[in-house]
Amino acid sequence: MLAYALKRSFSAFLILIVVSALTFSLSHLSADPALTIGGEQASDEDIQAIRDLYGFDRPIYIQYIDWAARAMSGDFGESYHYGERVSTMIAGRIGTTMTLGVLAILFALAVSIPLGVVAAMRPNSLLDRFALLIAVLGQALPTFWFALMMIIVFGVWWRWLPISGNDTWAHFVMPTIALGYYATPALMRLTRAGMIEVLGSDYVRTARAKGLSPTVVLFKHALRNAIIPVVALAAVWFGFMLGGSIVIETIFNLKGLGWLSYDALLRSDLPVVQAIVLIFASFYVVLTLAADLLNAWLDPRISVR
């Protein structure tokens, strides 16, 4: 088990290195950072001085190693545009994105699990078909379009909800729904499939045969088993959602990491872009690592493979 955990952790670490190296070279293709730092008024000598100061003339892999070494101690350098420490900027923005991500995934689970369970209890019924219809329709709706429609209806016409900012919990309602609904179809289908399988399994039949009430069977025996893969998938989706928050944060003027990365891309603010990519990747890697290790712990056969 320990060997397996070590092996998986090492591989996760390696993944982060590859991801960050790819992003690093990609973003350094896009713009001459010396020009960005120098600004409009910089003379050619100024630009050269900046290149020397930051070492932009060095080969890119040397620059990467330099960056990676610092990044490991939490030092992502300074934003070219804001002149602030990237780590400070991220620390100030990550809360908003995390709040949004957690709320969105909770929303998705709150909608998809009951729907999935109900659908599984009566497969092929009207209710089941209705749930699947919602899933199919939901998957085809562009997130940003859905978000705009909500703003028009709930923000402008009815004035029920605040449109932009993150001052109160009410500010998070529309962004949460917009970001969360996209995950519901996948989670609901998994819940439904899992429930159908579990309900047909021997031990549920046994439990029923023992005369336990249907409610007890449903919640105590069936749902508990069916829900584990759903939660695992939700963890993975959480990682995706952080990345998907770019559009939502931009539309609802939430100043989180998604917005920050969008703003930084517009300004070729490379240190910020690199740091955010690495953070999003880390979230994904850590979450899947945790899920894998948990699985291995529950099912020792996995670590042997």
Partner: protein
């Protein structure tokens, strides 16, 4: 679809009757949204290059000189009077009894410290051009200051009445740009209560601003500015009552918002000058634009009048000069004017060796519709332009670094300075933004920039204008329009220098 329309109408009607007082007249506060081109990175006036940074600075700080926004006359502000001691020295008598927001009294020490600090290149002020003409500032007595210039600098007053805001010496020496960003302190009509970078700034009325400043006292006791990058979100907030005014909307929004009961929208022309630049010097090795006949043909193929009438509107007009006509030296009579004449354009193309036209890459960072209208005009004479719309900073990088932009639709706001050196000299003195690389033009501009005799300046600038337009290095297009949408009860005043004075807008009743 009828139903949907009904719903729209019903929705607006409902929203009007509901009208919750989120912001607005009831609590003597004003909420502003700005930021469609990105948030201010550092609200310290010397460490940002945003248009909104200028708007911010006018609320919090004052300059020595006030430029009357309608007539562009210079009037006393922190300085009461001034005189030239020599070609390169001005003496300023300062106003007495002015206090900074932190209680520090204003005197010569503040002026001397500020000007010497910002003009020291080691302190890294972002726009060196604003300060690099200052040799030094010197205290004569507690309320008299001499400013020495490196060489005769005729545009000095444009800078002294614009970007050169005066800081409190003791405070700034202690906290520097970082501290000034977190807690700005000035003499201006609004005091800063809080700064949340990229999110929100809160101001309150400076009740000590009673010394007769021509800028006037604040009309509301509390002012909040929200940085909202998305214009549509700004409009949604405006319609929903979350903000009272935005300055980022489009010309089409003006008609639309103006049509909603309770709201007014207005267009105000600015000195921001739009132009199409051509790579005449061949920096990107693109053959056609290096030929004068081709550039002339393109100038005649583009229907600027139709573009202005249909897309820009307001008091925008076609511009023929590579600068804005109110700017010093910007003589329209000196410019070669190119009228819309697609037939002549085709002939010119044929004689330049392109009877069937050619393909060209066209760059812009502005909304694509302007460029699309231009491309459609060019297509009529056989020139097939393909558009690349890029973020502003990326495009500037590409231009300055690679120079591979044969044709580009750009614009320049001149930092609201009413002197053509702020635009033409920036682009045609062989710097990284120069795609003409014309020695003669550069020399004339240098002469105009440094002579202290206004007539000599005008003559030199006129020659430069003549050659830039005659050679079609630029095709000047139109001046931009700022479009404002606001609550109809707000007493809004538009200004041509693209600087809304938010503190002057009060609730006028109705």
């Amino acid at each position: 679809m009828k139903l949907i329309r009904l719903a729209v109408v019903a929705g607006f009607a409902a929203s009007l009757t509901a009208a919750p007082a989120l912001a607005g007249p009831d609590d003597d506060s004003l909420t502003v949204a700005w930021g469609s081109t990105g948030p201010i990175e550092n609200v310290d006036n010397y460490f940002n290059t945003n248009r909104t940074g200028i708007w911010f600075s006018r609320m919090v700080w004052d300059q020595l000189i006030y430029r009357e926004p309608k007539t562009f006359e210079y009037k006393p502000l922190l300085a009461e009077s001034w005189e030239a001691l020599s070609d390169t020295t001005w003496q300023f008598k300062l106003r007495q009894g002015v206090k900074f927001h932190n209680g520090e009294p204003f005197d010569a020490d503040d002026v001397v410290f500020t000007l010497n600090w910002v003009s020291n290149p080691e302190n890294g002020v972002k726009v060196q051009r604003n300060v690099d003409w200052i040799e030094s500032a010197e205290k004569v007595d507690q309320y008299t200051v001499n400013i020495h210039m490196k060489k005769p600098f005729p545009q000095a007053f444009e800078f002294l009445s614009g970007p050169l805001t005066i800081y409190p010496n003791e405070y700034y020496a202690e906290v520097g740009p970082d501290g000034m960003h977190k807690a700005p302190v000035g003499t201006g009509p609004m005091k800063v209560v809080s700064v949340k970078t990229a999110e929100e700034y809160v101001f309150e009325k400076n009740t000590d601003y009673t010394w007769g400043s021509p800028k006037g006292e604040a009309q509301v006791s509390k002012l909040t500015v929200r940085e909202i990058a998305d214009v549509q979100t700004q409009i949604a907030e405006l319609l929903a009552g979350g903000i009272d005014i935005t300055a980022d909307i489009s010309a089409d929004h003006v008609d639309q918002i103006g049509g909603v009961p309770g709201f007014t929208a207005m267009q105000a022309g600015t000195m921001r000058t739009g132009y199409i630049g051509f790579d005449a010097a061949g920096r990107g090795n693109f053959e056609p634009t290096t030929k004068l006949e081709v550039r002339k043909a393109m100038a005649m193929a583009i229907n600027r009048q139709s573009l202005v009438e249909n897309l820009i509107r307001g008091d925008a007009g076609v511009i023929h000069t590579p600068c804005f006509p109110t700017q010093f030296g910007c003589d329209e009579g000196a410019a070669v004017k190119w009228d819309y004449n697609p037939e002549k354009a085709k002939e010119l193309l044929a004689s330049a060796g392109y009877p069937d036209g050619f393909e060209i890459d066209f760059y812009t960072f502005r909304p694509a519709d302007w460029a699309e209208a231009i491309m459609a005009d060019l297509a009529k004479v056989g020139i097939k332009a393909s558009l690349t719309k890029m973020p502003y900073f990326a495009l500037r990088d590409k231009q300055r670094n690679e120079g591979t932009t044969p044709m580009f639709l750009m614009d320049w706001g001149s930092y609201s300075m009413n002197d053509m050196s702020a635009i033409t000299s920036h682009f045609f003195k062989k710097g990284a933004d120069d795609f003409a690389l014309d020695d003669e033009v550069a020399a004339w501009l240098e002469e105009g920039d440094t002579s202290s005799d206004p007539e000599v300046r005008k003559a030199a600038y006129a020659k430069a204008i003549g050659k830039i337009t005659g050679e079609v290095y630029w095709l000047p297009m139109f001046n931009h329009v700022r479009n404002y949408g606001f609550n109809e009860r707000l007493a809004f005043i538009p200004y041509q220098d693209e600087i809304p004075r938010f503190w002057q807008y009060g609730w006028g009743g109705s």
